[in-house]
């Protein structure tokens, strides 16, 4: 009885503690950053190294980097996940090596990805400091997350569907297309959102790849400043940039919040659609 009460108390305490961290963080950002927020802030170009003006070009650069990251990483990851779950046996040496490398890759600190991206994309491939280099570097960084979540989603589709499909003389590709991928879609969406969240919050991997330039980018070959870099730069290198750093951080957190909500909505919608009708 007493044990039960104690456990309940501990659980509630940890819940409150965790929420408190989030609430305090957001309140602090709102307190310092709310004053600068306006529609103009979202679209205007930054002035005076970010002390004034808005974050228009930065939003554009961030969007471009993200779009590039996902459009490169998602198809690659899906193909790898399909290979790992559907076309290779569980204990094959080759897929074992792939999985092990992905696990290691997942725990590599992002600054290392930044250095690698700089050496490989910027210098070796000659892409220079550009949105392209940044996007590709982030793509490498989110590959492990995407592959992991995608394979888990596919693996969660019951084996029985595979058997039933095979018993009808369907090949593996058909079973995948018609039954396994649709079943795995909520997991695929969740994985994508996780990757987007990770990429949008990334600083270290972008410092040496997409760079600091806060002008509106003309092409993917231009350097572009991502939102997280902007926050970092304002708070570390620009005297008097604190309030703008807080505003930008508030925007970043709102974006993350929106991505999260959207992903659970989408996943729920798909799950629901699967049960009610397709």
């Amino acid at each position: 009885m007493l044990k039960n009460r104690l456990a309940t108390l501990l659980i509630w305490l940890s819940v409150i503690l965790i929420s408190a961290v989030f609430v305090v963080l957001v309140l602090d950002l709102v307190r310092h950053g709310w004053a600068e927020l306006s529609l103009a802030y979202l679209v205007d170009a930054p002035l005076d190294a970010g002390r004034g003006g808005g974050i228009g070009p930065i939003m554009v650069s961030t969007g471009l980097i993200l779009a590039l990251t996902i459009s490169v990483a998602a198809p690659l990851s899906l193909a790898t996940a399909v290979f790992l779950t559907e076309f290779s046996s569980k204990n094959s040496v080759f897929s074992g090596i792939i999985k092990r490398s992905l696990d290691v890759l997942a725990s590599v600190p992002s600054i290392v990805f930044g250095l690698f991206g700089n050496a490989f994309f910027c210098v070796y491939l000659g892409l220079g400091f550009s949105i392209l280099s940044g996007g590709l570097t982030l793509a490498c960084m989110v590959l492990p997350i995407l592959i992991r979540t995608f394979s888990e989603g596919l693996r969660a589709a019951p084996d029985e569907y595979r058997l039933a499909a095979a018993a009808l003389g369907l090949n593996r590709a058909a079973a995948l297309r018609h039954f396994l991928l649709p079943t795995a879609t909520p997991a695929l969406i969740a994985g994508l959102m996780l990757a987007i969240g990770r990429a949008i919050a990334e600083t270290a991997a972008l410092i040496f790849t997409s760079g600091y330039v806060d002008r509106m980018p003309d092409s993917l070959m231009d350097s572009g400043r991502a939102l997280s870099i902007h926050i970092y730069d304002l708070s570390m290198n620009v005297a008097g940039g604190d309030s703008h750093a807080n505003s930008a951080a508030l925007i970043l957190i709102s974006l993350l919040f929106m991505i999260n909500t959207l992903s659970s909505k989408l996943a729920y919608h798909w799950m629901h659609k699967r049960i009610t009708c397709l």
Binding site: L163, A164, A166, A167, G169, L170, F179, I275, C277
Partner: protein, 290 residues
């Protein structure tokens, strides 16, 4: 291909709207087929999972147009036996199959054998109804489309026909686009049978098709199996001895000896149940063992 005992007569417009019956006349308990012709011949089939044997030296013939029932205690390898017949065992990496299985006189393990085509000809119904998570119509349409029937008029006709064949048409004709998983268990199982029938298989392997169903749904499915006799060659695994006795022409009794399944006795259903040759069979069908 040899002709079936009763030619499949599949076109809906030949029998507008009327419920067709495909029985060979009045049914008796376990009548032998008029003229047994071997469709599937299994010789010395052994099967193991990794190094654990599951079946040893099983040899028997499956006769065209007849219902063959396989009985035996749990774990004696009946499901494994069925899966070997359409090479579903290929899906299990650890599973080794040895021995000869001939379908229409052609070795199914021949490298030239197209596995997908083999499985299309030898359909399988599982113990648990396994409709795909799509609509009732798509459950039937998708496999058809994968086998090259994508003309909507044709596939609609087939959908209607197979659903009528399994007695489901009246129940679902107004909600073909509803999810298949919203059907009851018995309806789902009949949908799975319809889905298999749509591919016009020659053989249907049924692994305890009634065991997950209530007695009424089970009777409906059993009645359906009766009506398929003659048009299809059916191999059915069942734990329900009374059912086997009612519907089968031939019966085989599996038992575990030396930790691997083997076929103890095979013969006409009536003989297996009424005058078994082997004492294990006698004990099992009389309910004192297993």
């Amino acid at each position: 291909m040899k002709s079936l005992l009763i030619e499949p007569d599949r076109h809906p417009k030949d029998h507008p709207g009327q419920e067709r019956s495909y029985t060979l006349g009045p049914l008796q308990a376990g009548p032998p087929c008029c003229d047994p012709q071997t469709l599937l011949s299994i010789k010395n089939l052994s099967l193991s999972y990794g190094s654990t044997p599951a079946l040893k030296n099983v040899s028997l013939d499956i006769y065209q147009g007849c219902i063959t029932a396989l009985i035996g205690p749990s774990g004696c390898g009946k499901t494994s036996f069925l899966s070997a017949l359409n090479r579903l065992t290929d899906m299990i990496p650890t599973c080794n199959v040895s021995g000869d299985i001939h379908f229409h006189g052609i070795n199914i393990h021949d490298p030239k054998q197209d596995v997908l085509n083999l499985r299309r000809n030898i359909g399988m119904i599982f113990q648990k109804p396994l409709p795909f998570p799509v609509s009732i119509r798509r459950n039937i349409e998708l496999p058809l489309r994968e086998h090259g029937i994508d003309n909507p008029t044709e596939s609609d006709a087939i959908v209607q026909q197979v659903l009528s064949d399994v007695g489901l048409w009246a129940e679902v004709k107004d909600r073909l686009n509803a999810p298949a998983q919203a059907l009851s268990g018995g309806q789902q199982q009949r949908l799975c049978i319809a889905r298999a029938l749509a591919l016009k298989p020659q053989v249907l392997l049924m692994d305890e098709p009634c065991s997950a169903l209530d007695p009424i749904s089970s009777a409906v499915v059993e009645d359906l199996i009766q009506r398929l006799r003659g048009r299809y060659t059916i191999v059915i695994v069942t734990h329900n001895l009374a059912q086997a006795k009612r519907i089968a022409n031939y019966a085989g009794f599996f038992w575990v000896s030396d930790r691997a399944g083997c076929l103890i006795e095979f013969g006409q259903c009536k003989q297996i149940f009424e005058s078994p040759q082997h004492e294990l069979t006698a004990a099992y069908v009389n309910g004192s063992r297993g």
